[in-house]
């Protein structure tokens, strides 16, 4: 048994050491894998805020991931084709600047999360799952038919977007950006969980009736959590698109919503590093088992069944000995 914070430190150490080692030995593909793991972890950290703290089983977080992705795709596409983006009332220039793309991705994801959240939070339980899923599917099919930006085929961006002072085409530098963002979001997430908002949200999940009788609005608390959650996953989407220099409707697929939920369950629901550990394990298995067999998901399924049956607190709960976890 090791304490949760030592486990977390160990994970952070691994996320620093492995890419550095890969750089020294010039195994660039390992750095790309690590970048993929870190970005997927970020997407799942976003969902974990809604799912773990707020108890909101969103099966539509791919929506925000995709919005982040298409924000990058559309802005970069207009920049690389030197065309203006016509928004009806006015036109704007595209951009190849990561910070601007991130900001737009965060704002757009938040706005969509407000709308989806306000409608979805009128329901709960299985209906909440279904309605969030439905929104994701709407975006999925919309982008498939969105011919201006590649439709079903997606959209390729030839050169990775830039970050002031860095060469983002060097794998380790782009990894550094993603890693720092993940750390910053984890830090904010840890603070948020202990804040007045975090306390109230936690209570809204566990005992909405009590929350109301002390004068707080559980639905509004959950909505704000949902919006922050969507914004983080949206930011991850923008980074993911930049990693692949490609966006396609699959970013909106319900399978992706399921995958990031799987990371959380694997790692530990509501645990700060649960989604990070889940994503790292997923990407590792995907790579190594994927080399052996195309049907590697079977093994993933077995692991998932074992975790759900015997370790409800996920891997973090299992290793730190603080079992339990919640639904």
């Amino acid at each position: 048994m090791i304490q949760e914070r030592y486990l977390n430190a160990l994970v952070l150490f691994g996320l620093i050491a492995v890419p550095l080692y890969a750089m020294a030995t010039e195994e660039l593909f390992t750095i790309t894998l690590a970048t993929r793991a870190v970005i997927l972890a970020l997407a799942a950290v976003g969902l974990n805020l809604a799912l773990g703290l707020g108890g909101l089983v969103s099966f539509g977080h791919a929506t925000f991931f995709g919005i982040g992705g298409y924000t990058m795709g559309v802005l970069a596409y207009h920049a690389q084709t030197y065309t203006a983006l016509d928004l009806g009332l006015f036109t704007i220039e595209g951009t190849k600047s990561m910070p601007i793309i991130w900001l737009v991705a965060i704002i757009l994801s938040s706005l969509v999360a407000v709308v989806i959240g306000m409608l979805s939070l009128r329901t709960s339980g299985v209906y909440f799952i279904m309605i969030t899923l439905a929104f994701g599917q709407m975006f999925f099919f919309f982008t498939i038919s969105w011919a201006a930006y590649g439709g079903e085929d997606g959209l390729s961006i030839y050169v990775r977007n830039g970050f002031p002072g860095l060469n983002t085409l060097v794998p380790i530098q782009f990894y550094g950006i993603c890693f720092v963002i993940l750390c910053a979001v984890l830090f904010l997430n840890a603070r948020l969980a202990k804040s007045p908002f975090g306390l109230a949200l936690n209570a809204a999940r566990q005992t909405p009736m009590r929350t109301q009788t002390v004068g707080l609005d559980p639905t509004r608390l959950k909505l704000v959590a949902f919006v922050i959650s969507g914004a983080i996953t949206g930011l991850a989407g923008a980074l993911f698109a930049d990693l692949n220099r490609f966006v396609s409707p699959t970013m909106f697929s319900w399978q992706f919503s399921g995958e990031i939920m799987l990371f959380i369950i694997l790692g530990g629901v509501g645990r700060l590093f649960g989604p990070v550990i889940g994503a790292v394990i997923f990407v590792t298995l995907e790579h190594f088992l994927g080399e052996i067999t195309d049907f590697w998901h079977i093994y993933l399924g077995v692991i998932l069944v074992i975790i759900v049956l015997f370790a409800r607190g996920g891997i973090v709960g299992l290793l730190s000995g603080r079992g339990g976890g919640h639904d």
Binding site: K194, L199, M209, G215
Partner: protein, 249 residues
């Protein structure tokens, strides 16, 4: 009339053919404990839920400190000074005792829209929460997880959370439920002192506690208030004896 802290006028609520509240007029004066007794299924919880805002009456009005709150949410009524405790504890079981009490303090006085500063570093909220815990005798247990508390301690925490609100009126749904003889006695003494801070609407099955505490008692049977009076009046009321108390009361 205007100095009534809590009043219902003609509260009526039906569930299908069942009239759970049948034109109930009830009031609570400053400084008193007004108990509501009645057999199981008489509609006590339904009445409380309409007063706290969890249920809307089909007809009739609820007044809190002279203001008609019938259309207001539970949340708004809590903010207007209604402190409610639940028959079955409504607590955040994964959280510590202190966190539960701080939640009450936060709802009553703090801003919940603060995202980065630890809530337990807010001295004002923590002081308010610890004062309430101290009063019910739970201060020593403040760092325990609520799930680890005994049943009796959870009942105490229920009351402590309501205390953090510093309400104008307490609405307590069976605070003695499941407490042992000694626990009931402690709670009885505590509520006895509490009435001077804010009047208490007390729904309770423990007759010893009710007779020891209540300034007035109302008897609810099949959704109707069949009698309201002092302890002695209720004890000697023939209709009440027949309906509820039994011959040995």
């Amino acid at each position: 009339m205007t100095d009534l802290v809590l009043e219902t006028r003609g509260i009526t609520k039906s569930f299908g053919a069942l009239k759970a509240s049948d034109s109930i007029d009830f009031d609570l004066r400053p400084g008193e404990i007004h108990a509501i007794i009645g057999p199981n299924g008489a509609g006590k919880s339904t009445l409380i839920k309409q007063i706290s805002g969890e249920l809307r009456p089909d007809a009739g009005q609820v007044f809190l400190a002279g203001t008609d709150v019938t259309q207001q949410t539970t949340r708004a009524r809590a903010r207007a000074g209604l402190g409610r405790t639940f028959q079955i504890s409504e607590l955040a079981m994964e959280d510590t005792v202190l966190q539960n009490a701080v939640l009450g303090a936060l709802g009553a006085s703090g801003s919940v829209w603060r995202f980065l500063k630890p809530v337990l570093s807010d001295a004002e909220l923590v002081t308010r929460a610890e004062e309430a815990l101290d009063r019910v005798g739970l201060l020593d247990a403040r760092n325990q997880r609520t799930a680890e508390l005994s049943h009796g301690q959870r009942r105490q925490l229920e009351v402590a959370v309501a205390l953090t609100l510093r309400p104008k009126v307490f609405v307590m749904d069976e605070p003695m439920a499941g407490l042992g003889a000694e626990g009931s006695l402690t709670m009885t003494r505590f509520l006895d002192g509490l009435r001077s801070e804010a009047p208490i609407l007390l729904v309770e099955h423990d007759m010893d506690a009710v007779f020891a505490l209540a300034d007035r008692i109302s008897v609810l049977v099949y959704g109707r208030l069949i009698a309201t009076g002092t302890v002695d009046e209720i004890r000697s009321n023939a209709e009440v004896r027949e309906a509820y108390l039994g011959e040995d009361a």
